[in-house]
């Protein structure tokens, strides 16, 4: 609670209303003063998704503007603001802050939320008004507003349509005024104006000083009334509260207020109660409780003690005590350390204690508790939370004044939070030692956040400075003694008539004060015997010494004083009691004589009402000193006379009583008689009524049974109906099909959720014509279609299109038939066929494609040069193409449908074997090489594949693929042959070339002569090479097969012979020479010719050469040849010329070798004769 300069900002009045609020709000708003300068905020319970037009409804009644709040708006005076649905309102400075309604665990309490915020921000300028409504929203907020110094007004519950909220607010005991709703605004005006008047600074100060001055007097008055001494509370708090009450009462001066207090007990009590307004919550400042849990509770539970005692002074409505109990219970369970827990909660605020004992809290009060805690320690009762027995048992609540009454003792923990701040420092100094005294050696003290242990540091050590946890310093000596306490004031028991339900428990026993002690002793020892009796003579209390006078009667004992007293005393005492009862005064009877077995004794009787309780009387019997003998007789006589008088008067009285009673008795008797007669006749009537009733009863019974049956039928029906309804509901909701039910006028009766895709339709559109609703599709023809359906009584189908999304729907309109088959509207169902349409289109396209592809394939099948066919298990031709048909030599038609045996006279067994193999193994046979004599085409080679065709389960056909590879193969073979040949030839060629080169090399060496010049050598070599070349040419011309000898001869001798001059004479057959033979002979001929040209017959013009061949067959392919070269007409030869040169070498060696010839050289006179005999191979 802050002190400081008072700012009188705009007073803000929060008005909470719920059910029945409209009437109340209208009435309230109508009475708002137009220029009070206050701001009015209305908080209601509204459904979050419904628009509210409250501001429009109230505006006509209101003299000031009424608007719905916008977030962030400033609060302007003389303006009514209404919280919009779905939001909670809080105040920040003088601005409104709207937040979305949260999903709280508890009920939605917007009024509490706003009031709390209002209290925080506006404090003493906060006003709250609670109007009609159910539930308890607003009560918690009201408490906070009151605690902050604001004001609370509530609608009279008799005038409220729903009194729940007002009653709950009143039950807090904190409401300032309960009024009919039309007077609330007026009262607010009064209070605000009054406060304003008080609010200028000077008046403020004066007022405060005046209050302070009167404080002791006020405190004294309050102590009288409430028994609590507030004189040592901090003045600030008290001053404010006094000011408040003064404002409420519209008292201007403190003197006036003091008067009121003195006159009116109720006002004094109210003020006393105001002082007690305490704010307590569950787990207030949670971090403190966490610290307590760790640093105090846990170690405490580990100690070796069976009991845990805790004291919470100033517990008010008990939240803190329950908090501690919960803390301990939780920890005990967690640590499995079970102790007996005792939490003592005390306060001077008796109603608050009652509430604490009750143990019932509103949902907002238990906000700080977790779900588990609520479950464990509370049970829900009518929306409120009641502490469970386990929790409740731990806590004991009792009135106790911390400053005046002696403290508890042997405590483990004292939690005294936010109490000391209200006390003056002197009072605190008295309280803190008490707490030190009350704790055990290792006890702890927990204080509120701004409290400390004051000057008494040595009494406590700090355990946790931030969280205000202290430990008892056991070594410090306690400064407290109970004997120093002021006497306890007796509580004003009878005067507390407000609100409390149960009697206050007797105060805790205080120790006997010295005075009382003295009194007791005196009473015991010296006082005359005395007794307390009731007005009717029953004994309430007997003192010890009364035993002298007690002489109980024989018979059944009773508690009447009469029966206890001695005979002599009974009459006087009875009389005295009667007198005392009647007069209310003390009565004394003197000198009553009693017989005491000795000298007569006299007793003085004194009987009078007690001071406090008018129903009790105090009897005192004093023995009088014995009188002297002389006056004894007088005394006795006097006594006797007195006795007689008493007796007589008693007698007279008794007689009178008796006669009166007798009369009464007579009359009563008469009355009784007549009553009796009445009763008799009544009885007869009743008898007959009874009989009627019996019959009725029987009728009723049978009716009842009928009703029973009907009822159970109805119940069954109902059950079926419910089931049908929920089936229908589920059907509606589960279907994706949009179905719209229209009545005969095309108004919407019902629809499935899917319909919202097509129409902008909501639940509240039921009843509106369909044409009112927006539609996403083109459908102008509803009316016509409906008319048609009406006539035909049949359904109608149509496709409708939604342009925007490209969807297509199939709309079916059918007549709506009731169960009696009456047409009562139309049912329109929309089936989304978009996909279907797409599929149809795709399907069409696919089919087309397939057809085209199939045509292609067929064409291919028919025209491909590869032979294809398909045969089933009977080897029947299912399918065959032109190519294969041709190969088989029959037309396609001749094959189809016939088996292989029917088509061919002698089908190939191997083929049949293959086909069957494929059927059996299911495996294809590939790359078979088959040779078939095809009619008209000779032997053809085919490459055949047989492959199985299955339908997923078994092979149902074999396909054949036949390729004519004859030409291919032939070509391949030919090429291969050619390649071979080429290889050979190349080899041959290489060989020949090498050999020729080697030969040339040899010849070049052979021709070498020392005397040759290079030019001559070259010439000679060239000639030989040319000879070889000529032979080569000839050989080449016949492909190196066989050369004719004649050709060779001609080639060699061509230079020497001409047409005119034939110098060659040829005899004998031609010879076919092989390559090496030709070469050797060619060289030979060349040498012979050269030599002949140089030295022989060809050197002269007429010289001639005769070449003869003789051949004789030896065998089929071998013949013997004799070749002769004879030179004639040549120059004479004298001596054998030296023709040894190259030529002779050739003759003798080469030819001989190559041809294996017998060579002879003979130089005759004619010339040279050369002969060679050799064998020749080859056919003739």
């Amino acid at each position: 609670m802050s002190d400081g300069s008072v700012q009188f900002g705009t007073p803000i009045i929060g008005i909470g209303a719920s059910a029945g609020g409209l009437e109340a709000l209208k009435a309230f708003v109508a009475t708002i003063p137009p220029d009070l300068g206050a701001c009015y905020v209305i908080v209601q319970h509204l459904a979050a998704d419904q628009e509210s037009i409250m501001h429009q409804l109230l505006q006509p009644e209101s003299p000031v503007p009424v608007t719905q709040i916008k977030d962030g708006e400033a609060a302007r005076p003389d303006h009514v603001y209404i919280v919009p649905p779905g939001a909670t309102l809080e105040l920040t400075d003088d601005h409104f802050k709207l937040s979305e309604r949260g999903k709280d665990r508890g009920a939605f309490r917007p009024i509490d939320i706003f009031f709390n915020s209002l209290a925080q921000v506006k404090k003493r300028d906060a006003y709250c008004v609670v109007l009609s409504g159910t539930g308890t929203d607003g009560s918690e907020g009201l408490k906070t507003i009151k605690a902050a110094g604001g004001f609370a007004l509530v609608q009279e519950s008799t005038g409220a349509r729903f009194p729940g909220m007002p009653d709950s607010a009143v039950a807090t005991g904190l409401v300032d005024f309960i009024l009919p709703v039309s007077r609330i605004a007026g009262r607010l005006q009064d209070i605000i104006n009054h406060r304003r008047e008080q609010m200028d600074d000077k008046t403020q100060e004066e007022l405060r000083d005046a209050v302070k001055r009167h404080l002791p007097g006020i405190a004294k008055r309050l102590a009288e009334v409430s028994g609590n001494d507030f004189s040592e509370y901090k003045p600030g708090t008290l001053v404010r509260r006094i000011e408040r009450r003064m404002a409420l009462l519209r008292t201007q001066t403190v003197d006036q207020f003091m008067e009121k207090l003195q006159e009116d007990d109720a006002q004094a009590e109210l003020l006393a109660q105001e002082f007690l307004i305490g704010v307590t919550r569950f787990f207030r400042d949670p971090e403190v409780w966490n610290a307590v849990r760790k640093q105090v509770v846990r170690p405490l539970l580990q100690r070796n003690q069976t009991h845990v005692r805790i004291w919470v002074p100033g517990c008010s409505t008990g939240e803190e005590a329950y908090t501690l109990a919960i803390l301990f219970l939780e920890e005990m369970e967690a640590q499995k350390e079970h102790k007996t827990l005792q939490v003592f909660g005390t306060d001077i605020d008796v109603p608050a204690l009652t509430s604490a004992r009750y143990g019932v809290f509103s949902p907002s009060a238990v906000e700080a508790l977790s779900e588990t805690q609520l479950e464990k320690f509370f049970s829900i009762e009518n929306g409120q939370y009641r502490a469970s027995p386990a929790l409740r048992e731990c806590c004991v609540f009792a009135p106790h004044n911390l400053a005046q009454d002696p403290p508890f003792s042997r405590l483990d923990l004292i939690s005294c939070r936010n109490l000391l701040i209200y006390l003056s420092s002197e009072l605190q100094d008295r309280v803190i030692p008490r707490m030190h005294f009350a704790l055990r050696e290792e006890g702890h003290l927990v204080l509120g956040p701004s409290e400390g242990v004051g000057d008494d540091w040595e009494l406590f050590t700090v355990v946790d400075r931030t969280n205000k946890i202290f430990a008892k310093n056991a070594s410090a000596s306690t400064k407290y003694s109970a004997l120093n306490d002021p006497l306890p004031r007796l509580q004003a028991l009878g005067r507390r008539t407000r609100i409390t339900e149960t009697q206050v428990a007797p105060a805790a026993h205080s120790e006997i004060a010295r005075e009382t002690l003295a009194e007791r002793e005196y009473l015991k020892r010296f006082a005359a015997p005395y007794a307390l009796i009731t007005g009717s003579g029953e004994i309430a209390y007997l003192s010890e010494r009364m035993t002298e006078f007690v002489q109980p009667n024989a018979g059944v004992p009773s508690s009447n004083i009469d029966t206890f007293l001695r005979r002599e005393l009974r009459l006087p005492v009875r009389n005295a009691l009667k007198q005392a009862r009647d007069s209310g005064e003390m009565v004394s009877v003197q000198d009553v004589m009693i017989d005491d077995e000795g000298p007569a004794a006299f007793v003085d009787i004194q009987l009078g009402p007690t001071q406090r309780d008018e129903s009790l009387f105090l009897l005192s019997l004093n023995r009088v000193r014995s009188i002297e003998a002389g006056s004894l007789g007088v005394a006795v006589q006097r006594r006797e006379n007195a006795d007689q008088d008493m007796l007589e008067s008693e007698n007279f009285n008794l007689r009178r009583q008796l006669s009166a009673i007798l009369q009464e008795s007579e009359t009563s008797s008469q009355e009784l008689k007549s009553t009796n007669e009445e009763l008799l006749s009544m009885n007869e009537e009743l008898q007959s009524s009874n009989e009627e009733l019996e019959t009725s009863r029987e009728e009723l019974q049978s009716i009842n049974e009928e009703l029973e049956t009907v009822n159970s039928e109805l119940q069954e029906n109902n059950r079926l109906l419910t089931r049908a309804n929920s089936d229908l509901k589920n059907l509606f909701e589960s279907t994706d099909v949009a179905v719209l039910f229209l009545d005969r006028n095309f108004c919407v009766r019902n629809f499935t959720p899917a319909t919202t895709r097509l129409f902008g339709i909501r639940r509240r559109d039921i009843g509106r014509p369909i044409s009112d609703l927006s539609s996403k599709m083109d459908y102008p023809g509803l009316a016509e279609d409906a008319a048609e359906v009406d006539e035909s009584l049949q359904g109608l189908e149509r496709e409708v299109h939604v342009k925007a999304s490209g969807e297509t729907f199939l709309l079916r309109i059918k007549p709506y038939r009731t169960t009696e088959n009456v047409i009562d509207g139309y049912v329109l169902s929309f089936v989304d066929i978009t996909k279907r349409k797409k599929f149809e289109e795709t399907l069409q396209r696919n089919q087309q494609e397939l057809a085209e592809q199939f045509a292609e394939l067929e064409k291919l099948y028919d025209t491909t040069p590869v032979g294809l066919c398909l045969q089933d298990r009977d080897l029947r031709y299912i399918r065959i193409n032109e190519a294969l048909a041709k190969i088989n030599g029959f037309s396609v038609e001749d094959h189809l449908g016939k088996t292989i045996y029917e088509v061919f006279d002698e089908p190939d067994a191997q083929i049949i074997k293959y086909l069957n193999q494929v059927f059996e193994t299911g495996k294809s046979i590939n790359h078979l090489e088959v040779q078939v004599a095809t009619p008209g085409a000779g032997l053809r080679e085919y490459l055949v594949d047989y492959y199985p065709v299955d339908d997923g389960a078994e092979v149902f056909a074999v396909g054949a693929c036949v390729r004519d590879v004859t030409d291919e193969r032939r070509l391949t073979r030919k090429l291969s042959e050619q390649a071979e040949q080429q290889k050979l030839l190349l080899g041959e060629l290489e060989h020949r070339v090498k050999n020729t080169l080697a030969t040339i090399s040899a010849i070049s060496k052979l021709l070498l002569r020392d005397d040759d010049s290079a030019a001559d050598y070259q010439k000679r070599l060239t000639q030989r090479l040319q000879a070889i070349a000529r032979t080569h040419n000839l050989l080449t011309s016949v492909r190196w097969a066989g050369v004719s000898l004649n050709d060779m001869i001609e080639a060699e001798l061509a230079p020497y012979s001409s047409k005119n001059n034939r110098r060659l004479i040829r005899h004998g057959p031609d010879l076919e020479l092989g390559a090496s033979e030709a070469l050797s002979l060619g060289m030979t001929l060349h040498e012979l010719a050269t030599n002949a040209a140089k030295y022989g017959s060809l050197s002269v013009p007429n010289g001639k050469v005769v070449i003869e061949t003789e051949m004789s067959q030896i065998s089929d392919d071998e013949s013997e040849i004799l070749l002769t070269w004879s030179e004639i007409d040549g120059p004479k030869i004298e001596t054998s010329p030296d023709r040894q040169g190259f030529g002779s070498v050739v003759f003798e060696k080469v030819l001989a070798r190559d041809l294996k010839a017998e060579v002879r050289n003979h130089f005759g006179p004619e010339g040279l004769t050369f002969s060679a005999r050799f064998h020749l191979r080859g056919e003739k």
Partner: protein, 123 residues
């Protein structure tokens, strides 16, 4: 020291003659020249050469390999002569280590091969 005997097997007469002259000029004695396997074998019945100079292809699809193998068994070092390039000629396995010359053969090359072969003969 006796001249080493060289068995010459070559079917082309001129080439044979050439080689014979070359060998004899270098101091070797020539057995043959033989023109066929048959001739060579006849020679071998009567004489054992120290070195053999064999033309691989002897015309009419005859090769000198049969003789060569026999000579090899006899421990006679062999020099092959061929008109075909070496890669084409399929020499029997045991003869692959023998020297090979291609025609036309250089005199120097020939003599070097012969001498080397001759140095292999156990004396």
């Amino acid at each position: 020291m006796n001249a080493q005997k060289v068995l010459l097997l070559e079917d082309e007469a001129i080439i044979a003659m050439d080689m014979e002259m070359t060998l004899e000029a270098q101091g070797y004695k020539v057995l043959g020249p033989c023109q066929s396997v048959a001739e060579a074998q006849t020679v071998l019945e009567n004489d054992t050469p120290d070195i053999a100079l064999l033309d691989v292809n002897l015309g009419r699809e005859e090769t000198s390999f049969s003789v060569a193998i026999k000579l090899h068994e006899m421990g006679v070092p062999i020099v092959f002569l061929s008109g075909y390039s070496p890669s084409v000629v399929d020499v029997p396995e045991q003869l692959t280590s023998m020297q090979r010359l291609t025609k036309p053969v250089n005199e120097g090359e020939l003599m070097a091969a012969i001498r080397q072969a001759g140095s292999l003969t156990p004396m």
